[in-house]
């Protein structure tokens, strides 16, 4: 058998190369959801704080659009390659076992292909809900606090957010550590610490994100009592 010419090898077309791209794009998105969660914690600091934060982001147009393009590319590559690999993986076992008894695989690791699309659908809805406003019943551009509180007052909307965050939790539970394995960045001395740190970050992301809709539903975060009468009296005054 003659050797495969190295010049014929396209590493990014190989399963291992595609996995590396999945890992890198996953890491980009992981970093994003963490920063996104930290920023959103300002919801608890009141309307001025979070609205000012929103304004800050909106005013930094070049940075905002760079981030948006990078994230969009990351999501696109992640979806495309995971589908390609999923199809190849399925094709590799044309005849199924009558019964397979899993020994090590976690539920999260075997359902990445389900948690992924749910998160993908959620992202589209989330952008239409809070960024564009089309899916929002009373969207006020620039008033982030108002949009969040009004949006989450619908228990079905809040329920979907919670469900999506649970899926994100499952996805990160497997994905965060898995990406370090794929990049080869692990070893016996760092494994334990890596797992602890990643699990802590992932849990923090999910718990904080779930707390936002729950806080609104529980009435902990609500619209300022003054704003409604103020506008009402303003209207009455006219």
């Amino acid at each position: 058998m003659s050797a495969i010419p190295l010049s014929d090898i396209r590493p990014l077309g190989a399963t291992v190369g595609k996995k590396v791209l999945l890992a890198v794009t996953g890491l980009v998105m992981y970093g994003f959801v963490f920063i996104h969660m930290v920023g959103n914690l300002q919801l608890y600091a009141g309307p001025e704080k979070i609205n000012h934060y929103g304004e800050l982001l909106q005013n930094a147009k070049p940075l905002l659009w760079t981030a948006r393009i990078v994230l969009l590319a990351a999501v696109g590559i992640h979806i495309l390659l995971s589908l390609q690999l999923w199809l190849k993986n399925r094709a590799a076992r044309p005849v199924k076992y009558s019964h397979q008894d899993y020994q090590a695989a976690t539920y999260a690791s075997r359902t990445m292909i389900l948690s992924g699309p749910i998160i993908g659908f959620f992202i589209v809805y989330h952008v239409l809900h809070f960024t564009v406003g089309w899916a929002h019943p009373d969207f006020v551009k620039g008033d982030v606090f108002h949009n969040v509180v009004v949006g989450f007052q619908n228990p079905f909307v809040s329920g979907f957010y919670v469900l999506a965050m649970v899926c994100l939790g499952f996805h990160l539970y497997h994905g965060a550590y898995s990406l370090f394995q794929t990049l080869g960045l692990r070893g016996p001395t760092v494994d334990k610490r890596l797992k602890v740190v990643l699990t802590a970050i992932s849990m923090l992301i999910v718990i904080a994100n779930i707390s936002f809709p729950l806080s609104v539903l529980a009435g902990i975060v609500k619209l300022p009592a003054v704003s409604a009468p103020a506008s009402a009296s303003l209207a009455a005054g006219k």
Binding site: Y97, S98, A104
Partner: protein, 262 residues
């Protein structure tokens, strides 16, 4: 002794040839001694089948001492059966109870077509090895022993990886029928030693190219392979393979012509 004998029900995959449909066939297996190995149990069942003039169940086996990598059955949904770090031939019937039903299937993977019943064609593994799982050495006098220093830790990790017997239980257990654990064991066992350095980058690129061409799936880091491996090859080897692959892909140069004696 016969008081301890097991009366089992076997559901065995029977398939006459590569391109014909197969099915699970139920066999009654009374009088199985708990001292038998799993393969000896199949020998007994086959003897009885032959006495009745029926076709015996075809299955792969050779050394029957857990080191050749020939045997391999998916037993009740687990490659090599329920015992950790145990090949099918080293699994004994004492782990089963009287009245048990045992489902026996071949390794299932697109690149491993069934030859007959429980025997599959594992030639793709040979082609992956041929693509890069070797080192090139000069012929002539044997080199001095210990002329090349090898750190003890590297030698041990290399030997751990070299314990792979190529049985393909990793492929059988992986939901993606991926051969990554096998390839990673070969890449590690050669790549960790000084003798494996000259071809290290080309090896990992070529072996993965061959693995993909054979139609194996990709790795999703779920660990079924590690759990099924009778030689306890670790997932850490796959991390090493990924690391080597990434390094080789990023640092490779255009080829400057083939090497040779000149």
């Amino acid at each position: 002794m016969s008081g301890n004998d097991l009366h089992l029900t076997l559901k065995v995959w029977r398939q006459a040839g590569p391109n014909v449909p197969g099915k699970l066939v139920t066999y009654d297996a009374p009088g199985i001694s708990p001292h038998m190995s799993f393969l000896e149990m199949l020998d007994v069942v086959n003897e009885r089948l032959q006495e009745k003039g029926e076709e015996p169940i075809a299955f792969d086996h050779d050394c029957r001492e857990g080191i050749c990598g020939m045997c391999g059955l998916v037993i009740n949904g687990v490659a090599h059966g329920p015992r950790r770090a145990t090949t099918t031939c080293q699994l004994h019937m004492r782990y089963y109870k009287d009245g048990d039903t045992i489902v026996i299937e071949p390794w299932r993977a697109g690149p491993f077509p069934v030859i007959k019943d429980l025997v599959v064609d594992r030639a793709p593994f040979d082609r992956i090895i041929a693509a890069g799982g070797f080192i090139s050495v000069s012929t002539g006098n044997a080199p001095d022993g210990n002329a090349i220093p090898v750190p003890k830790s590297s030698a041990e990790l290399s030997m751990d990886a070299a314990a792979c017997i190529g049985c393909a239980a990793c492929v059988a257990a992986c939901p993606n029928a991926s051969a990554m654990l096998f390839v990673s064991a070969k890449v590690s066992h050669l790549g960790l030693l000084p003798q494996g350095q000259p071809e290290r980058k080309a090896r990992v690129l070529r072996m993965i190219a061959q693995m993909d061409a054979e139609g194996f799936g990709g790795c999703t880091n779920i660990g079924e392979c590690e759990a099924a491996c009778p030689k306890e090859i670790k997932l850490e080897n796959i991390a090493r393979l990924n690391r080597d692959y990434l390094a080789a892909a990023v640092t490779r140069r255009p080829e400057t012509g083939s090497g040779g004696a000149g």
